[in-house]
Symmetry: C2
């Protein structure tokens, strides 16, 4: 079974996994050091719990995120970027650079995302 759902185009394949309003925001939060389910829920965009569950699973299935238990009773997981997930950072940096330039009302993001250019 091919890894893509529509065509072998790298853009289409990326959108098969990450093309929605929430998945890339979860990646953003992982780059900012968030690890636990409750931490993602606290982000100001207000991701619903069922969507967060689905998107974390989708990111794990695509190999961008791995989880490990940090508590046993009840079991609770911490989520971290894999090397494949870490490698997505340049895409987020270019998105920030573009949005900061084209929509000056957006805020300059903290590290590790690129800063607004002169």
């Amino acid at each position: 079974m091919p890894i893509w759902k529509r065509t072998a185009c790298p853009i289409s394949t990326t959108l098969d996994y990450l093309g929605d309003k929430w998945t890339i925001l979860v990646l953003r939060d992982l780059f900012r050091g968030k690890e636990r389910f409750c931490e993602f829920l606290e982000s100001p965009e207000g991701i619903p719990t069922n969507i967060l569950t689905d998107r974390l699973k989708r990111l794990a299935d695509a190999g961008l995120v791995e989880r490990s238990p940090y508590q046993d009773h009840p079991v609770r997981y911490a989520y971290r970027l894999t090397p494949r997930g870490e490698a997505f950072l340049p895409v987020l940096q270019e998105i920030c650079r573009w949005a900061n330039r084209e929509f000056p009302e957006t805020v300059v993001p903290p590290a590790p995302f690129r800063m607004r250019e002169a």
Copy 2:
């Protein structure tokens, strides 16, 4: 009214406009020189007509695309990237570079997208 729908985060704002499985594919096709409604429909991912209509309007509302009539009876429009849309190219290039590296089954895209690295 702010230009963003959720927060002033540049990533969130970008996803407000482009965060779905189809919008960025329409951008890809515009970068490849497609201009007419029927040309977008011919792409192998098979975008449905109602979604294409909606996404072209969304891209125009966000200032990434402009349209001009190329025929009068009946009126038909050609769609082209604005400077804001053209400026999105580095994001697409980074997506291609990431996907080609992480999913070697994807094809190396033609210009203007970046080629697979050694």
